[in-house]
Symmetry: C2
Subunit: 357 residues, 2 copies
């Protein structure tokens, strides 16, 4: 098995802790390790042949720094010169892995997701590997725990319980009523963006559904030493700008011939904004989640998140707030409006305040 | 005229900016200068004979540092070894001034009040000086602009308009209905804690109403050089611990024989808590008062105060908040609960977290 970690996200919704050079996956929110480091550690027990991290040029140095300490498995970093969504990144990774091992199985993971139960993750990944042997494209579908309207869903055939169930269709983010119906139906899963497939299977589907993309990555000429990635860099930089931006879901999965979902229930969160952190970090009795503070003095406050930059934080009579303090910027945000933090980043961009980006 | 500035307050309601060693009057909230410095500058145009600042031992060094640059008038600092409220501080100052100039007139001002219209303040002070020549104790009564329940009131005789009106009585903080009645009546004023009197007049009243206190301060033996304050320090330290803690209002003013109020309307605020700052500093169009920030990015927020420690501050969907950031502590407080900031300080004390006090 080969692991591909998708790590090029910008994560503006975690401003001011996430910045251009240290986006969400490179931030250290949970104790010392970044989400990328946790993702790498999560797959090491699967004993992969190789780990490949696809990131972008701006984050490549920090990505290399954070992953330099892992010696359980060879690790390559591929830097995209421009972002083109997930399909080109996956196609590129599949071409590289396929060149070296056409029989490989490939696990694709976003770098910035949280998984509470690592052992269960490994169990599901092993089952998915088995299911992928047949040539199916396997997606990990998270069993929904609430009628979430912020995720896409995967509808499975209501098959008798098997490890992998055929996918009926992919569903865009639903409204509240449909989300509730999905939750009750029992054969709908959150689309996690985690996939397992034979490299040969995904390359076949790419050639069929995205022939221009497949042609571009199949034209790469590999060097001799190591995986020949150094020889690839100028070629990648040459082909990328002309590639079409597309997600693997829309570009391949929705119309692939053989797609299956493996239900997963390992305490997953995509940690999509500050308001998701209470899913990931335990709150105290008053519902206060405190991270990196010297302490919290709470006078009658509730249901809030504070990131403290090593400070003593006092809360007086507030609730449902997100407070994030960094050395040069401070965010105070109503909890249910955490998605709008990206608007702050947009305003900073408009005003040319690059030092805060 | 001699000016006595009462500067010993602890100001816990401005935590975390105010600390034990830099209480409210020594803080620099409004641009560069502290409230003490502004108070000193305010009285210089009155051309006083001398300015005396009564503070405590803990704040004496910083008080001296902040006032070292003023050369318009000799300035003495008297440090109380323990706080005993305003009556002992005023009695001590009156004894010192009286020793050197028994005919002196004495203006008493708190160090931590804000006055918008300095010229009008000088006009009122001059009128009060004139009124004090008769031997009356003159108090400056602020013409109320709202039915405030947080202040004591002074009820004047509904006399024909004269500079100084006889005081009928002092009234404790009223409830909302009474405060509204006071506002409508027109002969009630906020008790500002600013007084003008002949030194001989206040000493006579002190001897009559607080004989033990008067005896203690009259027993001081003055040195030869300057005002002999160095010789006084050990004596002050000896007598203070046994003095009774008492306010000048309760100890003297309420039962004095000849008390008058001069109505004042010069944009006064006692700046009693963070929530009072919008009275003092202009808000932007969204009602955001921003102090010491590198900038504010406002996404749909209103009616809030931010003190920024040089940072970029982003507010998303919040209102009626007070946010105060300092290098080691951060406060987030509901605006209408600003009085409870002192509870934060109490909790820090209880937990022995002295570095934050």
């Amino acid at each position: 098995m080969y692991v591909v970690i998708m790590a090029g996200g910008s994560g503006t919704r975690f401003w001011p802790l996430s910045r251009t050079r240290t986006p969400k996956q490179l931030m250290s929110v949970f104790g010392g390790k970044s989400m990328l480091q946790r993702t790498v550690e999560r797959v090491l027990p699967l004993a992969p042949e190789r780990i490949m991290i696809v990131t972008n040029e701006e984050q490549a140095a920090e990505t290399a720094r954070q992953t330099a300490g892992y010696h359980g498995c060879p690790l390559d970093i591929v830097a995209e010169p421009v972002g083109r969504n997930t399909a080109p990144a996956i196609a590129l990774a599949a071409a590289i892995i396929g060149h070296h091992d056409p029989e490989a199985t490939m696990l694709v993971l976003p770098a910035d997701h949280y998984i509470r139960n690592e052992a269960e993750f490994c169990r599901v990944a092993a089952a998915a590997t088995e299911a992928a042997a047949s040539g199916a494209l396997i997606t990990l579908g998270i069993e929904p725990t609430r009628p979430e309207t912020g995720y896409g869903y995967i509808e499975a055939e209501p098959a008798p319980a098997a490890a992998a169930q055929p996918v009926r269709c992919f569903v865009e983010k639903p409204d509240a009523a449909r989300a509730m119906a999905f939750l009750e139906a029992g054969n709908f899963y959150w689309n996690s963006g985690m996939f397992i497939w034979r490299v040969s299977a995904i390359r076949r589907e790419l050639s069929r559904q995205m022939p221009e993309l497949a042609l571009a990555v199949n034209s790469l000429v590999f060097g001799e030493e190591n995986w020949g990635l150094e020889a690839l860099t100028p070629q990648i930089n040459a082909i990328y700008p002309s590639l079409k931006s597309e997600s693997i879901d829309y570009g391949v999965m929705e119309r692939a011939t053989q797609v299956k979902v493996i239900p997963a229930s390992f305490g997953w969160s995509d940690v999509g904004s500050w308001s998701a952190l209470p899913e990931v970090i335990e709150a105290d009795g008053d519902g206060i989640v405190a991270i990196a503070t010297a302490g919290v003095i709470n006078i009658d406050s509730a249901a809030s998140l504070v990131y403290g930059n090593g400070k003593m934080i006092a809360l007086v009579g507030v609730d449902n707030l997100i407070v994030v303090d960094t050395p040069d910027a401070l965010l105070v945000c109503r909890r249910e409006r955490a998605q709008e933090v990206k608007k702050v980043v947009e305003k900073l961009q408009q005003q040319g305040l690059r030092e805060y980006l």
